[in-house]
């Protein structure tokens, strides 16, 4: 065979292989690029939802009211869909197309969470017959709660992101229902001294007085010989079907026995560990149900499944108000997209985050651990981070918008504007003035949080 013929045969074999291989790699690359772009778009849309929630709830004085809160959350979910649809280039009427790929959105709040997912709804067809279909809706609020039952005692404890709890149910036939803050450490009965520090703020005094009384009621009040603290142990916990939790079966820890060793405000305490476990399980179970239900009723060929969240994700979710969005089944090249995004809210009226309390010193506001604040002495004032933000109100006419600040101090350049990693100490290790400011601010801001009436 001539050399030219061999070359032609070689070319006939090699060129198609090379071309097909190139095209295949090209498609794989496009797919991977598209997946990454979707990741960013999902994250951005979730962030837009958080910002919308913050804007609406901070400016809304009734945002802690249940109906008003639902409205704010629905508005933030709308912002999510609008943002996502615009980013994915399907705006306008077609935006609903995106919704079918969103099996669930979770909005975690102070003492529970909302799930926005498709549920069965009834509608009237053109021939006036009632039919059912699955469409997205905001489901009822779910509390972070757990039932404890032993003997004649059957109570439910609702937990929150901090040390606020609600206890209700029957203690030896007697119905109880009460909410309050569980605190550890020495408090004077009139609330004017906490852990050796004089409390000066009147609201804070109310907080400590009430918290001490509530903690004492949990620990010492006897209901026909039984105390609440003895009932709330993990081994007595029951799930919604009335079965014990296998992982708690040998756990006799008295969760509500607040003490220096089991400080409800300490992130390492038994109380916090148990509470986080309950929150995690509750979200996992209900979210799994929501996604699974949708998977069984969707017209898409996608098998919707709840992804496994990492420990870092859970730390985020259980630390403040969050929005978690899931997107699955969206065609992405030769694959189906499947991922989630979590964005934490830093500015909301739902929860007092100790890291977001800023203290005033020398014309600037600082974080607790800022070296410049350590020089302060005397009485230091502190407020929540949102109180330093710009506020707006309407003037005499509709067009007349007035911007103002509640506090005119500027942000510290060392710890807030350009923060550097500062050593965090336990609150007991700070000087007296800072400790006093911290206990006053934290108590005042917590007391001022309006909580929903959660007992039945």
């Amino acid at each position: 065979m001539k050399l030219q013929n061999m070359a032609v045969i070689f070319a006939i074999i090699v060129i198609p292989i090379t071309l097909i291989l190139s095209a295949y790699i090209g498609i794989q690359i496009d797919t991977a690029n598209l997946v990454k772009q979707y990741d960013t778009k999902l994250l951005d849309a979730t962030h837009d939802a958080v910002v919308a929630f913050q804007l609406n709830s901070i400016q809304n004085n009734y945002s802690t009211n249940a109906d008003s809160l639902r409205r704010d959350i629905k508005a933030s979910i709308n912002a999510f869909f609008t943002s996502l649809a615009t980013n994915l280039r399907v705006p306008g009427e077609n935006a609903g197309y995106i919704a079918q790929y969103i099996p669930a959105i979770v909005v975690t709040l102070y003492d529970g969470y909302y799930i926005y997912s498709p549920i069965e709804t009834e509608y009237k067809d053109v021939d006036a017959t009632i039919k059912t279909r699955y469409e997205h809706a905001l489901k009822p609020y779910i509390h972070y709660s757990l039932r404890y039952k032993t003997g004649n005692c059957d109570i439910v404890v609702n937990y929150s992101l901090d040390n606020y709890i609600t206890v209700y149910g029957y203690m030896n036939g007697e119905y109880i229902s009460r909410s309050g803050y569980l605190i550890a450490g020495e408090v004077l009965d009139d609330g004017t001294k906490y852990r050796g520090v004089t409390i000066t703020d009147n609201t804070a005094i109310e907080y400590y007085k009430e918290a001490k009384e509530f903690t004492s009621w949990i620990k010492n009040n006897s209901f026909s010989g039984t105390k609440i603290v003895d009932i709330v142990v993990p081994k007595n916990a029951l799930d919604e079907n009335g079965n014990s939790y296998p992982q708690f079966i040998n756990d006799n820890t008295k969760i509500l026995n607040a003490s220096i060793q089991n400080d409800p405000e300490d992130k390492e305490s038994n109380f916090t560990a148990h509470k986080r476990e309950i929150m995690k399980q509750s979200i996992q179970r209900n979210l799994n149900n929501a996604i699974w239900t949708y998977s069984n009723h969707t017209t898409l060929n996608t098998d919707f499944k709840m992804p496994i969240l990492t420990q870092e994700d859970w730390d985020k979710i259980l630390s403040n108000v969050n929005i978690i969005s899931f997107m699955q089944g969206l065609p992405a090249g030769i694959k189906e997209y499947n991922n989630y995004a979590i964005v934490t809210s830093t500015q909301n009226k739902q929860y007092v985050d100790t890291d977001l309390l800023y203290y005033i010193h020398d014309g600037y506001y600082h974080k607790l651990e800022c070296p410049l604040l350590q020089e302060a002495s005397g009485e230091i004032m502190g407020y929540r981070s949102i109180d330093y933000n710009k506020q707006r109100r309407q003037g005499e006419t509709e067009e007349d918008i007035i911007y103002y600040y509640k506090h005119n101090e500027l942000a510290c350049y060392r710890c807030i504007v350009n923060p550097s990693k500062l050593e965090k100490k336990k609150i007991e290790e700070y000087n007296y003035s800072i400790k006093q400011a911290y206990y006053n601010v934290l108590a005042r801001e917590r007391w001022n949080l309006i909580k929903l009436n959660v007992t039945f």
């Binding site: 050399l3 190139s22 990454k36 960013t40 994250l43 995004a341 979590i342 934490t344 600040y405 923060p419």
Partner: protein, 179 residues
């Protein structure tokens, strides 16, 4: 004489078809794959910073290692635009009907690397915290000449011998305060 010339030309064409064309094609795909790896790593690195509010030495090292694993050398340019609302606040004090103007100042790669303690024996800190509203931007380009670039330059490129072929950039607002 005529046959010999045709044979030489045929051998030359055959060599190009048999070796150079597949080599170019495969090396270009190799660059595409490197491009994908670099783009993916950059988006992950930046989005992680945006959602956690911090740059850690650990994550930065992992990012640089992922880039190196593609077999090329890269020039990584980072910038953080730090939001300063204080001037706006001062401005707003003068007039209640004005929102006031915020400013950004920028820190660049060498400053960020210094804060992260890159190349330092006992760094003071290995974390750079950011806050909500800051802007992080990362831009990466290859600095070596890849095989695909060499072949391209040899055969049909006249200008731009020193241009990069692998490039990725990603940026965005930081979504939360770093802790």
């Amino acid at each position: 004489m005529g046959d010999t010339l045709i044979t030489v030309v045929a051998i030359f064409l055959a060599a190009i078809l048999m070796f150079v064309f597949p080599l170019m094609s495969i090396s270009e795909r190799n660059d595409d794959i490197s491009q994908l790896a670099v783009y993916t790593a950059t988006v992950e690195f930046v989005d992680n910073i945006r959602s956690t509010g911090k740059i850690t030495l650990d994550n930065y090292d992992k990012y640089i290692q992922t880039l190196s694993a593609t077999g090329n050398s890269y020039d990584v340019e980072m910038s953080v635009k730090v939001l300063d609302e204080n001037p706006g606040k001062k401005g707003a004090e003068a007039s209640q009907t004005k929102i006031g103007e915020n400013i950004y100042w920028t820190t660049y790669t060498s400053q960020i690397e210094e804060e992260l303690g890159v190349g330092q024996a006992n760094p003071k800190s290995t974390i750079k915290l950011l806050k909500e509203g800051d802007i992080i931007s990362v831009d990466v380009k290859n600095t070596n000449t890849t095989i695909a670039q060499m072949l391209k330059n040899f055969f049909y490129s006249i200008v731009g011998n020193d241009t990069y072929s692998i490039e990725a950039s990603h940026s965005g607002f930081v979504m939360t305060n770093g802790k």
